[in-house]
């Protein structure tokens, strides 16, 4: 028993040390991004990196809002990300339910076919997609961008939610249906709550993807008032001149909402099953 405890303690200590190292490494670039966002520009070029400074200014942030329609970009990005997440999780839930609970021919082929969407790199598909959308006269139209983002997030969400649904025993649903619930009700009231961790991950994935995505937003949008935050960032690079302060300030403004989202979502991830699951 003592051996176990020592082994256990050693393992825990190792675990905490590893976590500490990982946290530092995870934290350093965002830390640097943040301090650069608050620096005056001259400090960015010195030969010794400035890791800490009291010479702070909000200039970079105010410049962003003064010189560019930053608020418009923020609202565009929020709209695109929120709708992308909602539609993606909804569509994926339906498909995942179908693939996990219902039986019909071709089910397993379709299951694997879902992944084939990711085979081509986006750097290749973006031109054909541009041409397709151009023919449909859907350029410079944010809902088209949402649709494109759906194609990225839906397949993975389907797989993830399917994996989750499969861990939920059918008996629970059968019990609900015996009690008079329809399939739809059993999906919404029994399965979904139990799959909450998976749903939370799907939301995080879809939202982050839409929020940070750059290539398609940049290709499909030309009107500056329709830009998202990610495309806005590219406007801060002029060939060989990088407006570091403003780029980093933009990065800070883009990362902060995501962090809030993750903080909220991670509670859902772990609280899910403790909320009254009935097993066995």
């Amino acid at each position: 028993m003592i051996g176990h405890r020592v082994q256990h303690f050693g393992l825990r200590a190792f675990g905490w040390a590893l976590l500490a190292v990982v946290l530092v490494i995870a934290l350093f670039p965002p830390y640097f991004m943040t301090i650069t966002a608050f620096h005056p520009p001259s400090l960015s070029f010195s030969r010794t990196p400035t890791l800490f400074s009291t010479d702070l200014t909000l200039r970079a942030f105010t410049d962003l809002f003064d010189k560019y329609p930053y608020l418009t970009w923020m609202s565009n990005t929020t709209l695109v990300s929120v709708s992308s997440t909602i539609f993606s999780v909804s569509v994926a839930t339906l498909a995942a339910y179908s693939l996990s609970r219902l039986r019909y021919p071709g089910r397993s082929t379709l299951s694997s076919a879902v992944f084939f969407v990711y085979l081509f790199p986006s750097t290749l598909l973006f031109i054909p997609i541009f041409i397709v959308l151009n023919q449909l006269h859907m350029l410079d139209w944010l809902p088209a961008l949402v649709a494109v983002y759906l194609t990225f997030s839906v397949p993975f969400n389907i797989w993830l939610l399917k994996a989750y649904f499969l861990t939920i025993p059918r008996e629970l649903e059968d019990a609900a249906m015996v009690d008079g619930a329809t399939r739809w009700q059993s999906l919404m009231l029994v399965v979904m709550p139990l799959a909450a961790p998976g749903v939370a991950v799907a939301c995080i994935y879809s939202f982050t993807l839409a929020w940070n995505e750059y290539l398609y937003a940049f290709t499909l949008l030309s009107d500056q008032t329709k830009f998202t935050l990610a495309t806005g960032l590219t406007k801060l690079i002029f060939g060989d001149v990088f407006l570091w302060g403003m780029i980093m300030a933009g990065g800070v403004l883009m990362s902060a909402p995501l962090l809030v989202l993750y903080f909220v979502a991670q509670r859902w991830i772990v609280a899910g099953l403790s909320a009254g699951a009935v097993k066995g």
């Binding site: 030969r47 006269h137 709550p193 590219t234 406007k235 690079i237 002029f238 060989d240």
Partner: protein, 453 residues
């Protein structure tokens, strides 16, 4: 979180989501009307006498916002005077080439565009012959500088663009460091420059003579200068590549030897366009070749360093006493498939008009220099020390990278990737200079085949 709590939260979210989705769709309205495609080939003739025409103008976003605003204003003024609407879209350095190529691919192209790739527009059948407009504007401006010739015509003689400016490269020299080593400005001959580099180079103190990238970045202002200094050229008059020559090999050798002999910072092997900027601004190097962005950065943030900066062109090795310098040139291309060609021409005239052009040059800072003779003596260029250095020392010697042959897509093609392959082969992979130059020559031949020229 109780299950019931999560349920009502879920329903609330569902409703919120539904509302958001509906409001998103209604806020965006339907897809924008197809009228945003004025350049697309249309079967029916354009608007009847009531409707206004629209000119779509594309350009590059300049670093100074005033410059962009003034340019946009010029385009709008042309519209007001001529009774048509305009739509102006300016793209950043990274976006612009991709936007252009994707536009050509889809057929939705602007009516007039300020571009750095006129040869490509021509290659894909969009560039109109603008000889008459070129002559007209040139006369109004007192005559074109020699650079204009090579920046606006193709080898076959068609005038595909109207140049807007000279964007020269400057050789920046740390006159304080060179003075310490016993050299005064300007450095008049190649040998003098090489001797100066030797003396000023102190790798132990992390201070190097020259920062020249070993990638495709800034190649036209660095490696090409060395090749020209040794008398090498890339093309002949007919557009035939003349790359694998002893002069070019000597030039590339001189350039890469600087790296091999530790007269360049070791990081040049992976530096991009900003690399030499950073090296200069952080005091790591005594010399760089770059367009106006470094001077502009110093004007804003580092006047001390600016005071120690001297600007000149590269001395020639084969003809001592003469100098060589490349310059880029932004140009206006008019879409020959446009429905509003006359209006597009009016936009071009307005941008380069004698009462608009001088202010445009001023607002562009040290990026743009005049390309017509009347404007060389503007106070902006004669009264500022560094602008004057450029106008005196550099502009007279400037030639386009394609000056021998005129605009050709082969040049644009090889300067994107093959130049990188050449320099990386020599600097990183240890191949000989001859082998490296051959890589570039082969790429030019492949490009020739690719464009069926």
């Amino acid at each position: 979180m109780a299950t019931t709590g999560m349920l009502s939260r879920r329903m609330f979210l569902a409703m919120a989501g539904g509302t958001a989705a509906v409001s998103l769709l209604s806020a965006c309205g339907g897809p924008p009307a197809p009228a945003a495609a004025p350049g697309a080939p249309q079967a029916a003739p354009a608007a009847t006498s009531g409707a206004r025409k629209t000119v779509l103008f594309w350009g590059r976003q300049q670093f100074l916002p005033d410059s962009n605003d003034y340019l946009t204003e010029s385009v709008k003024l042309a519209g007001q005077k001529g009774g048509f609407d305009v739509s102006v879209q300016l793209f950043s350095n990274d976006e612009h080439p991709q936007k252009e190529v994707v536009a050509m691919e889809s057929g939705v192209v602007p009516d007039i565009t300020y571009t750095y790739a006129p040869a490509l527009w021509n290659q894909n059948g969009y560039a109109m012959d603008v000889q008459a407009l070129y002559d007209e504007i040139g006369t109004a401006g007192g005559g074109w500088l020699p650079l204009a010739e090579g920046s606006s015509k193709i080898a076959a003689g068609k005038r595909i663009a109207v140049p807007m400016n000279v964007e020269p490269w400057f050789l920046h020299l740390r006159q304080d460091k060179f003075a310490e080593a016993g050299f005064t400005m300007p450095l008049k001959t190649w040998d003098e420059m090489m001797a100066a580099f030797q003396k000023v180079n102190k790798p132990a103190e992390n201070f190097y003579a020259f920062d020249g990238q070993m990638t495709e970045a800034d190649w036209v202002g660095n490696c090409l200068q060395f090749m020209w200094a040794f008398g090498g050229r890339l093309f002949d008059k007919e557009g035939v590549p003349t790359i694998d020559t002893p002069q070019n090999i000597a030039g590339v050798k001189a350039y890469t030897d600087l790296f091999k002999n530790k007269m360049m910072p070791p990081g040049v092997v992976s530096q991009l366009a900003a690399g030499n900027n950073e090296a200069w601004l952080s005091g790591q190097t005594a010399a760089v070749s770059n367009p106006g962005s470094i001077v502009l950065a110093m004007r804003t943030d580092n006047k001390d360093l600016l005071a120690n900066t001297y600007l000149q062109a590269f001395p020639s090795q084969v003809k001592p006493g003469t100098f060589v310098q490349t310059a880029g040139s932004a140009a206006l291309v008019i879409n020959q498939k446009s429905q509003v060609i006359e209006e597009a021409k009016q936009v071009a005239r307005m941008i380069l008009a004698p009462d608009r052009y001088p202010t445009q040059l001023e607002k562009a800072g040290s990026y743009w220099f005049p390309i017509m003779k009347n404007y060389l003596n503007l106070p902006f260029f004669t009264q500022d020390q560094w602008n004057k250095e450029v106008t005196d020392n550099i502009v007279p010697w400037t030639l386009a990278g394609t000056s021998d042959t005129g605009l050709t897509p082969i040049f644009d093609d090889i300067t994107i990737s093959a130049t990188r392959d050449m320099l990386q082969a020599i600097a990183v992979q240890g191949k000989s200079v001859e082998e490296g130059v051959k890589i570039l020559a082969d790429a030019a031949a492949a490009a020739k085949a690719k464009f069926k020229m």
